[in-house]
């Protein structure tokens, strides 16, 4: 048993923190938010040069062949930096999907480009009247001679305007779900910005008779369903890792502020109510870290992980918001200013807590795993 990072992960973590502190300060998060560009290109290229895009891509496709466990180390650091770029969408969701596809051509075509930082892809999953899960996909993909003809509406598509591809899930008639990498420049695609709390530049995406060629099919039939179930696990745990990173930063900032800020002639951290708030936050952070670590380890080791993944996502989604709000409370009015960073973390964890199933959604899954 080892409840800490291993040596390689510690090195990866150190490098990531250092890079992000220098290249992704909170001022960049704000300027990215206010900028018309979908995300900061320079940061993206820097991340590619660090090898992050290819961390879990296998070596045959110019990747580093790292484990999912390693990837969560990066995601935690990114959560701590409120990274304003589609790393999760591209290097976690899309790269994983393609890597597990049986379509050799697709892999050879796309994975090296992702690894090189030359391809941005994002997930188009959620639809009107649907929040989580795969049970109600209304978008249609009708097979034709060259591939599929796709119609539908997708919501909450992060960084859509900066994406080269849209990893899309649609329903076929008779063969269940199909997973497609849709070229974002295909005729028939239109975007409407739909801004959200977390500054991730979300859009609604409309597919109107969009032709998708066969060589962009990621998975069909039972393969598609299996792939999506695996992706759901990867994404849920990945979001947990982001939240753990954000929570730890909130805790660190809050403890430091409690030591520095003086009221009534003493540091506010000397007041028992503040001490107990901080103690509760610390226990929450540790608990979230271990649950996330357990789920990530199971996924990495290809062990059955459904229960642990949903335990992590249900718990972390709940306490991350609690921790971020408590960070605000201890800081007081200063944390209500845009120029103070605390709200960036609140936005981050709020969004991550809902992504890929909220707390209650995953509680229900835990219950199923308990045999209920």
């Amino acid at each position: 048993m080892n409840l800490d990072k291993n040596t390689e992960q510690t090195m990866l973590d150190d490098a990531a923190r250092k890079f992000l502190q220098s290249k992704c300060p909170s001022s960049l998060v704000r300027s990215a938010r206010d900028d018309d560009a979908p995300f900061p290109q320079e940061l993206w290229q820097g991340m590619a040069e660090m090898g992050w895009m290819s961390l879990t891509i296998d070596q045959a496709h110019e990747g580093l062949g790292g484990s999912f466990d390693d990837l969560t180390v990066l995601l935690e650091a990114m959560g701590a930096a409120c990274l304003p770029a589609p790393y999760f969408n591209t290097a976690v969701v899309s790269a994983t999907a393609i890597s597990r596809s049986s379509a050799t051509g697709l892999k050879e075509n796309l994975l090296p480009r992702i690894a090189a930082g030359k391809l941005v892809s994002t997930l188009a999953l959620i639809e009107p009247d649907n929040s989580y899960g795969l049970d109600n996909i209304q978008s249609t993909a009708v097979a034709n001679a060259n591939g599929y003809l796709v119609n539908g509406i997708k919501l909450f598509v992060e960084y859509a305007q900066g994406a080269d591809y849209l990893l899309t899930v649609a329903n076929t008639e008779g063969d269940g779900l199909v997973v497609l990498m849709i070229d974002a420049n295909s005729p028939g695609i239109s975007l409407t910005p739909a801004p959200t709390l977390d500054y991730s530049k979300q859009c609604e995406v409309f597919f109107n008779d969009v032709q998708v060629e066969s060589d962009l099919v990621v998975a069909t039939g039972e393969d598609a369903r299996e792939l999506l179930l695996y992706l759901e696990q990867v994404c849920a745990v990945g979001k947990c890792a982001e939240m753990v990173g954000a929570m730890q930063t909130v805790l660190d900032m809050t403890v430091q502020y409690a030591k520095d800020r003086t009221q009534f002639g003493q540091p506010i951290g000397g007041f028992q109510s503040i001490q107990h708030h901080c103690a509760n936050m610390a226990v929450d952070v540790d608990s979230a870290r271990y649950l996330t670590g357990l789920a990530a380890w199971k996924v990495s080791e290809n062990l059955p992980a459904a229960k642990e993944v949903s335990m992590a996502k249900s718990f972390v989604s709940r306490v991350a918001i609690r921790v971020a709000k408590m960070g605000h409370q201890v800081h007081g009015a200063i944390s209500f200013c845009d120029e103070f960073d605390m709200h960036l973390f609140l936005r981050k964890v709020q969004s991550a807590s809902m992504a890929f199933g909220d707390s209650e959604f995953h509680q229900e899954k835990v219950a199923v795993e308990l045999g209920l």
Binding site: S131, H328, S335, F336, C337, H343
Partner: protein, 401 residues
């Protein structure tokens, strides 16, 4: 116990309903961009609504309703505090642009209590008519929860006080005309003993403001700098060096008048209506047991809020000071404002994250705003921690240490 209005109260309640139904468009409650117990005022998306609001507010002032519980000789209607509470409840339920807010809710009543006859004559009519607005000059960089630590200093010089120092988190100072400000007037006294209250004109030379953008992206806060700003001595309110004790009273008024209890009911109703009429994954939202239970819990807490609110009015009418009770109301209502946003967010799922109104954004995208805005509720006007200290020490008699 008896929870019915008496005949006067009931007919005033009915009169208010008639007035509001007549003077505001039926969909008015959809116009102000606000969340229950917000400190950030009520902006409108459409400038025309701003105009409608101004017209309405003028009508209220003409009826004397901005100051209904003030004595008639001061432009009020001489109504009871319970009637004042009924007025506040109805206005906030309609989200009417009624807020005399700081001017009529805090400064006016305080002037009536501790102002000189000359001060009352000078200020009260202009407050009652809605002609002038105030901001609260309490917080400073090193005096937040610990208001006794204000260090802005006013030295006496002839018939003026000369102010030097800085205020912060000054909500709405840029829209207001005057500040209701506490500053230090005796450098040697122990911290609570050397402060005084003043009315300070925003236009006083030496006063400058820096806007501070809040996490909603709005300019609500300001930093206000005073650099040899000369304030006439007649603007000292109450006793010199007793300002802190006066301010403690003012804080009670603040906790009551800012609560806007009716907004809670309004948003609860809106949320219930949304749940009744919406589906998720093809299933009616109202069929989800946890959604039902969360709304039941919110409704119960709104009901509690109403009673804690009316309790303060009842006490004032009996000549009691509801200081502990206003703390209980404040802590209860602000935590409800937060939980209401959090629960609405849970019910709405990703749709609650949307920040711009539109087809996909339920409740005019107010939930994402409320989620952020309610962060300030449990902080501003005394944090929940400070309110609990008040309840424990002043209410239960536990020792101050």
């Amino acid at each position: 116990m008896d929870f019915s209005f008496n005949d006067n109260e009931q007919s005033f309640h009915d009169e208010l309903n008639d007035f509001l139904d007549k003077e505001l468009p039926a969909d008015w409650y959809t116009k102000p961009v606000r969340w229950p117990h917000d400190y950030a005022g009520s902006p409108y998306r459409d400038p025309k609504d701003e105009e409608t609001g101004e017209v309405f507010r003028k009508k209220l002032a003409d009826k004397g309703w901005l100051t209904i519980s003030w004595p008639k000789e001061y432009g009020g209607r001489g109504y009871t505090n319970m009637e004042q509470a009924i007025f506040d409840e109805r206005m906030s339920y309609y989200l009417a642009p009624a807020s005399g807010g700081i001017s009529c809710g805090i400064v006016g009543p305080m002037l009536l209590r501790i102002g000189t006859p000359e001060q009352q004559e000078h200020w009260i009519p202009r407050i009652a008519s809605g002609e002038i607005g105030f901001w609260l000059g309490y917080s400073e960089p090193n005096a937040g929860s610990d208001l006794g630590s204000v260090s802005t200093f006013a030295r006496e010089e002839g018939d003026h006080f000369v102010f030097n120092g800085q205020k912060c988190w000054s909500s709405g100072a840029h829209h207001a005309d005057y500040s209701w400000m506490i500053v230090r007037t005796d450098a040697d006294a122990r911290k609570h003993a050397g402060c005084s209250l003043f009315i300070v004109d925003n236009k006083t030379p030496g006063i400058t403001m820096r806007p501070v953008i809040n996490i909603l992206g709005n300019h609500s806060f300001n930093e206000v700098f005073m650099d040899d700003a000369r304030v006439p001595k007649e603007n000292l309110i109450g006793e010199k060096n007793k300002g802190f004790y006066h301010l403690m009273q003012a804080l009670d008024f603040e906790r009551i008048s800012l609560v806007g209890i009716g907004t809670f009911k309004r948003f609860l109703e809106e949320l219930v209506e949304y749940v009744k009429t919406s589906t998720r994954n093809g299933r009616p939202l109202k069929d989800i047991p946890s959604v039902r239970h969360k709304l039941a819990d919110l409704a119960t807490r709104v009901e509690i809020g109403y009673m804690l609110f009316y309790r303060t009015a009842e006490m004032l009418d009996r000549g009691q000071e509801p200081n502990v009770e206003s703390s209980a109301l404040k802590v209860m209502a602000t935590e409800l404002a937060r939980d209401m946003a959090e629960i609405a967010m849970e019910i709405l799922g990703p749709y609650g994250q949307l920040t711009e109104p539109g087809e996909r954004a339920p409740l005019r995208a107010l939930v994402s705003r409320g989620f952020l805005e309610s962060i300030s509720a449990t902080i501003g006007a005394g944090t929940s921690e400070i309110q609990r200290n008040v309840i424990a020490q002043r209410g239960l008699g536990l020792p101050r240490v």
